[in-house]
Each structure stands twice: as C-alpha cells, then as structure tokens.
C-alpha cells in the first residue's frame, strides 16, 4: 500500500481494527465461559438479530419515524428562534436563558410530566425528542449567525448589499459549519428522547421492546434492541455527517472547531 492511500485509509483502519479486537476478546471470553449469563456472546446477539429481524424491524420503524419527526421539528424551531433573536438582539439573553433552563431538566424527569399532560401518545414522544435536541441546535445556530467577522460585515455594508443578500452570501454560508456541528450533536439525542418517551408508555418501539425484554429477562432480546438503537443513532449521525461533507466540500478544515 502506498504511503498516500495508507494515510487516506488510516482514519477507518484504526477504529475498525480496535472494534474487531474488542469483539474478538469478548467472543473468546464468552466461549471460555468467563462471562455471566446476562452477557451473551457477540455471535449469539448477531444470530438473534437475524433470526428475529421481523420483530426488530416492527419496533425500529416507529422509533425512527418519531426521532426524525422530533429532530426536524427541533431544527425548524431552533432556526426560527435563532433568526428571530439575530434580528432582535435584546431577546438573545431571554431566549438563551429559557433554552438552557429547559435543557437543564433531565429528560427522564420531563417524560412523566409530559405523559401525564399530553397522554401516552405519539405527540408526547415527538415532543420529548424535539426538546432534547432544541438547545444544542439553538446554541450552535446562534453562534453560527455571529460567525461573520466585523470586516466581512463592513464589506457588505460598503457594497450596499440588501439584508437578504447579506444573509444569503455571508451570514448563512458562514454559519453552516456551526449548524452542522449542532445537527451532529442533536441527531443521536433525538433517538434518546424518543426512547425515554417510549419507556413511559407506548405500544410499539425500541424502548418498548427494551423494557419488555428487561422485565422478562429476555437477555438476547435486550442486547439486540440495544444494538439496533445504537445502529439507528449512528445511522442518523452518519447521514448528517455525509450531508455536511458535501455541503462544506472545498472549505478549509476545522472552521467551526
């Protein structure tokens, strides 16, 4: 392998190799009977996932749809709030205080309150997914809208740019890396919010499957549902990261870090 392609492959090779080594250790510990009965071998979990794939698919779909709905709703609300605050600066402290206040309530404490209020229903779970995503999205969006330098803003003033031109050609592109930063933080959080919502009551969903398996000591199913949840969260993150890659292609690295 040439030096260049090795460097290109390195970010993938090292994490994959680490994961493979851990899985191999786990598998051999299980074969040697060193693990408690509550920890199955990786191969046993894999077999479980393939055998009962219909069950996992049945519960995955509503969780995914709820998480995505809450996520999209949070993006809309956060962007609207950020744009409003950006134009009415005096609101910034109020909105950020309210946002951080809501964010400081543990989602696990908010779930029963919302369930009592809104009932065991889809809107409750979407709201939970939305709330948990909201603050990271809002904070990064606001930071992004502040991203253009004084000189860049003065340049657009000298050019007599309309506020729409300034937004389209300066503020929005300058804010994009920050937006994506928030989107990547929020994507797995949406899955977490949905799961917590499903724990407090639902007919269908990975959270339901998970709690059911726990109460019935269905060890394989519990591990299986955890794996599917992780896969969903990673997939959402991956999709956002892919969109980010194409949206920010050709820019210098590490702008929003």
């Amino acid at each position: 392998m040439s030096r260049l392609s090795w460097q290109a492959a390195a970010p993938w090779v090292l994490p994959s190799a680490t994961l493979a080594v851990l899985l191999a250790l786990w598998q051999s510990a299980a074969s040697a009977g060193m693990l408690p009965a509550t920890v199955p071998a990786p191969t046993a979990i894999a077999v479980e996932l393939v055998t009962n794939r219909a069950i996992y698919w049945y519960h995955l779909v509503p969780t995914a749809l709820t998480a995505i709905s809450g996520y999209l709703l949070a993006i809309g609300i956060a962007l609207a709030a950020a744009l409003t605050v950006h134009h009415v600066r005096s609101l910034e402290l109020a909105v950020l205080s309210l946002g951080s206040c809501i964010d400081s309530i543990p989602i696990i404490a908010l779930a029963p309150v919302l369930t009592i209020w809104m009932g065991v229903a889809l809107p409750t779970r979407i709201t939970l997914a939305m709330i948990i995503c909201l603050f990271p999205l809002l904070a990064t969006a606001l930071r992004g809208l502040h991203a253009p330098s004084d000189a860049a803003r003065a340049l657009f003033r000298v050019l007599a740019a309309s506020s729409w031109q300034q937004f389209r050609k300066l503020t929005f592109p300058a804010a994009l890396p920050y937006f994506f930063h928030g989107l990547k933080i929020a994507a797995p959080l949406a899955v977490l919010g949905t799961l917590v919502g499903e724990w407090t009551g639902a007919e269908q969903g990975l959270g339901v499957l998970m709690t059911g398996a726990m109460l019935n000591l269905e060890i394989l199913q519990l591990w299986g549902s955890v794996c599917v949840t992780c896969a969903l969260a990673s997939l959402l993150y991956g999709v956002v990261a892919l969109i980010e890659y194409f949206a920010l292609r050709g820019r210098p690295a590490g702008e929003a870090e």
Binding site: A151, L155, F156, R157, K169, P173, L248, R251, P252
Partner: protein
C-alpha cells in the same frame, strides 16, 4: 470623477456615561486621481475617518462629499472600494468568485458596468490562482485579491485601511509598488491609512498627519515627487526631507530643524 472633500468633520462615540471625541473639525480634500495618506498614532481616529468616508458610520458634525454627493449616495451607487486590514475573503468561494462578489451584489454581471474579474486578477498578478481557495494563498496574495475585489466595480474612490499592516516589511514594500502600479492603471482617487512614515511619503500626493485625543489633522504635506515612483525614489534627498517633515508633524518638533538632519 472622484473628488473627495471632507470639511469640519467631528465624530463622537457615546460610551456609557460620557462620550469620546474620536475626530474634531477634520478637513481635507483630494482631486480626482490623487493619492492621499492618513498617518498618525493609534487612536487618532484615522480608521474612523475612513469609515465615515465610506458611510460605514456617520459623522457627528461636518460634511463629506464625493463629487458633490454624500457618501451614502456614492455607496449605494457602488462607487466606493474598501480594502480592510483583514482581507475578509469568503473562505467558501474561490479567489475569482471572491473578486466577482461585488458584481453579484450590485446586480451587474454584464460587461461595461465594471471591470472583468479575470482582468483584475491579471492586474494584481493572481490569474494563476483564480480557482484556488483564499486559505491556499499567502497573506500578501490574499490582500492583492482583496484589492482586486475593491476595484471590480470601477470605484470613484478607493479606501485602504492599513492594507499591508500584517505583512513583513519586505513584502509590504513590494505590495506598495504593486498598489501604485494598480492605482495608476485605474486612475481612481485613493485614500490610505498607514502607520509607516516612509510608506505614506512614498505612496501619496498628500500626507495628512493626525494627532490623537481628539483626533485632528495637525499637518498636511504635499509630496511633489515625480511618478512613477520606484525604490530609487527613496534615495532622493527630497524624499528624506519629506519624511523628516512628516516625522516632525507626528512628534511635534519644528519641521525646519529636522528637515535635513
């Protein structure tokens, strides 16, 4: 086209309880195609004056006209070019797209309403970097791209706020020679803020010496050195005398005593 007249301009900034007088009763004028330099210590309001001329801020008192019109009109007509100390190139655009930006904002994509961005890149010697990203350019090259951007709408007035302040002295001198060549090629009126006495005398037809607290013009020196100027100009005894006079204005010594000292 491009006669600049500043008369009786004062600028106060309200700061909490009191106010700071950044400029007091400043007056200067430049004829079309002339090059003016503003020099003075930090805090003398020279950058503020430039921002007032560009209508980035408004004066508290006094008037500024460009060909008899207020700066706001000139700015709306896209006839002011501004080069900032920070090149302020947009990192997501190529160098050529950055130079084209003012044409897009002004809604002038056709020929005849401004300069061709590619021609300007040639003028500043960056034609080979048209498709490069700003981050791939050195500081001096970025500032040359910013100058091309400022010139693309064929401005009446080119304002430069310490454009080469962040560069090393050798690069800065090269850039000054470049700027003189570009300015003469366009025939625009130019006003530049600088910290360097040599730079001010080398570049300008008129050097305006400012003092701080409050910012005001304490001396105005006409530089009669022939153009085009080059490095040899700096060896001219008249150049040394003018540098001494500007230094005298800055530090308060009587000009005559230092003239040939």
């Amino acid at each position: 086209m491009g006669r600049l007249v500043v008369s009786g301009v004062s600028k106060r900034f309200e700061l909490g309880k009191g106010s700071v007088e950044a400029l007091r009763q400043v007056g200067l004028s430049l004829e079309t195609g002339q090059f003016g330099a503003l020099i003075g210590p930090s805090g003398c309001g020279k950058s503020t004056l430039l921002r007032l001329v560009a209508d980035i801020a408004a004066p508290s008192e006094g008037s500024i006209t460009i060909d008899g019109e207020p700066p706001a009109q000139c700015r709306r007509d896209h006839r002011i070019g501004f080069v900032f100390q920070d090149p302020a190139l947009l990192p997501w655009r190529s160098v050529l797209e950055n130079v084209r930006l003012p044409l897009e904002v002004a809604g002038k994509r056709g020929v005849g309403s401004g300069h061709s961005p590619m021609d300007l890149l040639k003028l500043v010697g960056l034609e080979a970097f048209a498709d490069a990203r700003p981050s791939q350019l050195s500081g001096g090259m970025q500032q040359r791209a910013a100058i091309a951007r400022a010139l693309v709408l064929a401005p009446k007035l080119l304002l430069l706020d310490e454009p080469f302040g962040a560069l090393d002295e050798i690069t800065r001198h090269k850039m000054n020679l470049e700027l003189l060549r570009i300015w003469q090629a366009t025939g625009t009126t130019a006003l530049m803020v600088t910290h360097s006495i040599q730079e001010a005398v080398f570049m300008a037809d008129f050097v305006f010496v400012l003092a701080a607290r409050p910012g005001r013009i304490v001396d105005q020196i006409e530089v009669g050195l022939p153009r085009p100027r080059d490095t040899v100009t700096m060896n001219d005894p008249a150049f040394g005398a003018l540098v001494s006079r500007v230094r005298g204005g800055l530090f308060g010594e009587p000009a005559g005593m230092l003239a040939y000292g």
